[in-house]
Symmetry: C2
Subunit: 362 residues, 2 copies
Amino acid sequence: MNDELATRRKELRARCRGIQWHGTPDAGAELTRVAAWCAEHEVQQDVYGEGELIEGFEAKVAALFGMEAGRFLPSGTMGQGIAMRVWCGPGGHFGMHPTSHLELHEERGYSHLFGLRATLVGPARRVMFADDLAKVSEPLGALLIELPTRENGGQLPTWEQLVELCGLAHERGIKVHLDGARIWEAQAAYERPFEELAPLFDSVYVSFYKGIGALSGAMLLGPRDFLGEAKLWQRRMGGNLYTLLPNVASAASRFDARLPRFKAYRERALTLAAALSAVPGVHLIPDPPHVNMMHVALDLSPADAVLARDRVAEATGLWLFGAARPLDLSGQSLFELHVGDAAMDVADEEIAAAFGALFGRN
Amino acid sequence: MNDELATRRKELRARCRGIQWHGTPDAGAELTRVAAWCAEHEVQQDVYGEGELIEGFEAKVAALFGMEAGRFLPSGTMGQGIAMRVWCGPGGHFGMHPTSHLELHEERGYSHLFGLRATLVGPARRVMFADDLAKVSEPLGALLIELPTRENGGQLPTWEQLVELCGLAHERGIKVHLDGARIWEAQAAYERPFEELAPLFDSVYVSFYKGIGALSGAMLLGPRDFLGEAKLWQRRMGGNLYTLLPNVASAASRFDARLPRFKAYRERALTLAAALSAVPGVHLIPDPPHVNMMHVALDLSPADAVLARDRVAEATGLWLFGAARPLDLSGQSLFELHVGDAAMDVADEEIAAAFGALFGRN
């Protein structure tokens, strides 16, 4: 892409309303908000993970999930690698879905850093079931379950399927860890309190920069002993920062206001999905969506999809998606759609009409 | 310590002027400053380490040191573990001073995470010399040299000793890495441009939250290939955050103004040290100091030192140090003294008198 086109796109993007998440993240604006919040609440900075704000927030999120304790960490990649290492021990072996973040996006740190081995459980296109775990004939130290499974469009097992899977794992003496990068989204779909998750999982990772909309940050939740050992690994990985104040304050100050909104995001995702699935050339994965995210496949090549997006943006003032990637070898393109604050102000019909216009039918 | 005493101490501390560093770090106030700076400069946030501000700052610091490239990282612990792993390869072997941060303060991540082995080179009480390296009869993949050596009071080898050490390492095919946690302090003592360091070192780590006074943050500098591999490890360790904006903006916005001051800090440290070493019961390590930091030993037990500190704070309004630890089995106590902005407004005589008062001689 030449520079001129990139500049024109950036200007076009800036003029348009987005429909994804809570709008384009703006960490600079977030800093201004967080600084004012810290001043208003006379927040003292944490030093190497110790301080009233960080420890209070850890206790609060742990209590929400019915877990003994929590530990705020710079990233989920750090937290989940640590969780697998602590549960499995040296040279251990764990199971995960083939599309897990640990398998696809972390340069296999679980192996290179921690010397762990992994078995991929179940097929990529759907969530993991108890039957998939039953087919694993080796002992596993831990099983990592992502709810929802992002890479196949945010799919969730039913509550009963989840209970069965976790039950089988526990019967076999396997520790069960929840990859809760989007657990706020999943909980709104299950419509059960977070604390009902506690008996299903031995440990939980949650994220604050995605659905919650804060700066970078994550938390690991679990038993005190588990987190005591986790802290050693956090130190070894260079995750025990002099202060995490910007990250903790951003997450803690957004948490209470954002959490109750996920129910509305999900309801809105369902009505929007119904409108979109009626548009010829648009296909949803899954259809209907399980949470407030879904994959959208278009009967357009990725290159054509991006050109159409720009044309529709010029015509309607709506910016529908960022990059589009190939769905498979079919020539279709794919992108993720996350329903958050940004879409709440735009009518389903307006968004569906804009998607229709991608195919030149406006 | 009971809660009441802790509260009284906190209030006393808040009423006093400190003499360490640049005063008590206040990340909340720093956030306010950084937010305004970002708004003024219309800074766009970096996303997973890509963005104009972060890449520009990396290029700037790399150029300062005559290195090909730089990579901003959440912490030095992360950066230095990575540097050793990249230079040494799997199962590799490196050398370091017995008081190195990697040996004392990182839960031996170099071994547990990276599977590396280490040889401790030279004695703890002084810096490492070429003769110490000459005694290592095994091949080493890398040698880590900290300038100044914090744990023995901020000692520096002479420039000639340093050149000899690095030269011997290179003769033996050993990659030389600079632990530059306090390189701003060291450079002010050597009075040589940073770029003269480039031929001595294959890679460099620098820190921004200590002498520079920014929020948490570090940078790894070196050849492009080295940093390309380092990025893989950064990802594996969970150090590739969604955004590092608060940290990068804090460092980048403080850097130019702070850097030229280290010369004055060092000059001031020398006059202050001369005044302090004349106080009976006060001993400096080293004496005179090599940089703008030193260790101060008191002829008081740690418990008595802390009580005396509080008494002197009440009487003089000066807060001389934080915790005091046992020097050894002699019954003396020890703390670090860092000369920065905080001490610049208080006369040597006033500080020396306050130290004298620790022994009840005021």
